[in-house]
């Protein structure tokens, strides 16, 4: 049985190969850290409900893309129908941070006439000792692009809920204010059903810091 949701948002997750895109999404959607995962070829799909206010649920449809540069010509076709995006880099891999600009350019040039609300995510923040990108410079970069910045860890379940929920809230606010509108032929935002009753048994909020592995 499909739970009742107010809106459906399509999110796209991008960033260099092996920055941990799939692991972050799987932590968010399955509540566990996948020790072993194979490289994404093309796209993978995930979904989860998020409750942003009591009784107000958003269904997130998450597109997990292949990170290798070669696949960009494929993945670029998927920007247009996304309303939000998580742009990941690995805080222990400087190059993945340097490529953030390219990813953003790539997305911006292929999303016309729409736009994507991006969140910059510094991933693998549990590996503090191997950090190659400081929080300050990442925040500065995010600020320059008008994005929020969050540091996450799929392994230790740090800020994973926070990252997705914040992005969802931001998009929700833009939808409510009318800056983002539902359009025929655009998959970014879809309207669901207004819930009359809140089914407490279908609560989706999961504890953030639990490690199930």
């Amino acid at each position: 049985m499909e739970a009742i949701w107010l809106y459906q948002f399509r999110l796209i997750v991008i960033g260099d190969s092996t920055v941990g895109k799939s692991c972050l999404i799987r932590r968010f959607t399955e509540g566990r850290f996948a020790q072993v995962s194979d490289p994404t070829v093309g796209v993978d799909f995930f979904s989860r409900l998020v409750e942003i206010e009591p009784g107000k649920r958003i269904k997130l449809q998450i597109w997990d893309t292949a990170g290798q540069e070669r696949f960009r010509s494929i993945t670029r076709a998927y920007y247009r129908n996304s309303v939000g995006g998580l742009l990941l880099f690995d805080i222990t891999n400087r190059r993945s941070f340097q490529n953030v600009h390219d990813w953003l350019e790539e997305a911006r040039s292929h999303v016309q006439p729409h736009s994507i609300v991006f969140l910059l995510v510094g991933h693998k923040c549990d590996l503090e000792a191997q950090r190659q990108v400081t929080r300050q410079e990442a925040e500065k970069l995010a600020g320059a692009y008008g994005m929020r910045y969050v540091e996450t860890s799929a392994r230790d379940a740090i800020n994973v809920e926070h990252a997705f929920t914040e992005l969802t809230r931001d998009i929700f606010a833009l939808v409510r204010s009318g800056d983002i509108t539902i359009q025929e032929g655009w998959e970014g935002v879809k309207s669901g059903f207004v819930p009359n009753v809140v089914h407490s048994s279908e609560e989706v909020t999961k504890s953030d810091r639990r490690c199930l592995c």
């Binding site: 093309g42 010509s73 494929i74």
Partner: protein, 414 residues
């Protein structure tokens, strides 16, 4: 009122039960009834009325009888399974003999015969699989073992020169060439190839072999380089062939038009392949096709993964190998036919799903896929559309694209 007693049976569960000894004399002992004991009431309580005792006895006997029936059925099922397994082993044995003694020695003359093709469809025995694949894929590129050694040596040289500086002074090379990063990517991907098999990971028996083949390929075809998905193809070949022969098969396999189109990510050509697929999709499964269209589920969403890895990531490995068998026999057409077979097999489930569920289902197929059933569905797919075969449809679409006015929106996949 049934008690599961698998564990209690062997242990000193209730050694004093008088029924236990009685049952030991039975030929067939239903496991699940050993804990069903009909007892009279303890002596300190008034005895059951005769009527009630009779009723309980009857209920008890019914329960035992039912349990026996069930056990008997299960035992039969187990015996059947064992028989099937033995039969399968036997048939693999005889098939291997046939392949080894009758087919392989006369390959070029018999490989297209009806009998061989039929045997081929049933699956190549694992012991000769590599040999048959090698022969079927061929070596159009004339790659020798020496050439492989040369490519490997060159790859090793590169690893040594790039491995040293990356640890310390990796600073201002933001615009790193795709080639360099692909060497790095290979390393990262090797351990992510069939992770559940635990043989390609660092320290595993095939880690270095996989590394070598992929590295050698980037030197053999620097214009193609390493593309994610390749590691799965190389891994499947390694499981069936010696290193150098695996490399030869790998390079030749990737050199086929369809694989080249995908691994070079020739987007326009990929779209032509998807369009051809849709022609046969609509022809074979019009209802499902309409459902996909309605939900904007385009073939790129599931076909990219299936075609790139030749199903080795999406199907259980033994089943993927059977797909490879016929792919080696029939060529690229079979990859798309398999895709249609999968859609046909799961047609009913898919028709009840919305976009995201279908996308999730197709990119993560069930763990248990009935092999025989899938092959029946694949066999039922007609690969002709208005009297045109796959190659002709593809050809027509390619020409159409080349000559026809290219719409500006045609580049978009969605």
């Amino acid at each position: 009122m049934e008690y599961e007693t698998k564990s209690g049976r062997a242990g000193p569960g209730n050694p004093t039960s008088p029924r236990q000894s009685v049952r030991k004399n039975l030929d067939f002992e239903p496991l699940s009834t050993t804990a069903l004991i009909l007892e009279d009431r303890p002596a300190n309580l008034p005895a059951k009325p005769a009527e009630e005792a009779q009723k309980h006895r009857q209920q008890y006997e019914e329960m035992v009888a039912q349990a026996k029936k069930r056990e008997l059925k299960e035992a039969q099922k187990r015996r059947k399974q064992l028989e099937d397994r033995c039969k399968l082993e036997e048939s693999i044995g005889t098939a291997a003999q046939t392949w080894n003694q009758e087919i392989l020695p006369h390959w070029s003359t018999v490989c297209t015969s009806r009998r061989v093709r039929d045997l081929w469809w049933q699956g190549i025995p694992p012991s000769v699989r590599g040999k048959v694949w090698s022969l079927a894929v061929g070596n159009e590129l004339n790659i020798t073992h020496e050439l492989y050694s040369i490519c490997l040596a060159r790859a090793k040289e590169k690893w040594n020169t790039t491995a040293a500086p990356t640890t310390e002074t990796e600073t201002e090379d933001a615009g790193s060439s795709d080639r360099e990063s692909s060497l790095e990517l290979i390393k990262l991907d090797i351990s992510r190839t069939f992770p559940q098999l635990c043989i390609f990971q660092k320290g595993g028996p095939y880690h270095d072999v996989l590394h070598s083949i992929l590295g050698a390929y980037t030197c053999y075809r620097p214009d193609v380089g390493y593309v994610q998905g390749m590691s799965f193809i190389a891994a499947v070949l390694i499981l069936n062939l010696d290193t150098a022969d695996a490399f030869i098969a790998f390079a030749n396999l990737l050199n086929k038009p369809c694989q080249m189109a995908f691994f070079r990510v020739d987007h326009s050509l990929m779209l032509t392949y998807f369009a051809a697929f849709e022609v046969f999709f609509e022809e074979n499964l019009p209802k499902l096709f309409a459902h996909f269209k309605k939900n904007n589920l385009t073939p790129d969403i599931y076909l990219i993964d299936w075609i790139f890895t030749l199903y080795s990531k999406s199907l259980p490995l033994d089943l993927a190998c059977r797909v490879w068998d016929v792919f080696c026999r029939d060529g690229e057409e079979f990859l798309f036919r398999t895709g249609l077979g999968l859609l046909r097999l799961y047609q009913d489930v898919l028709t009840c799903m919305d976009f995201i569920h279908m996308a999730q289902f197709l990119t993560r197929l069930p763990d248990l896929i009935p092999a025989e059933q899938l092959f029946q569905h694949i066999a039922a797919v007609h690969m002709t559309s208005r009297n045109r075969k796959w190659a002709q449809v593809l050809q027509a679409l390619t020409e159409q694209k080349r000559s026809g006015a290219r719409q500006p929106g045609a580049e978009s996949l969605s």
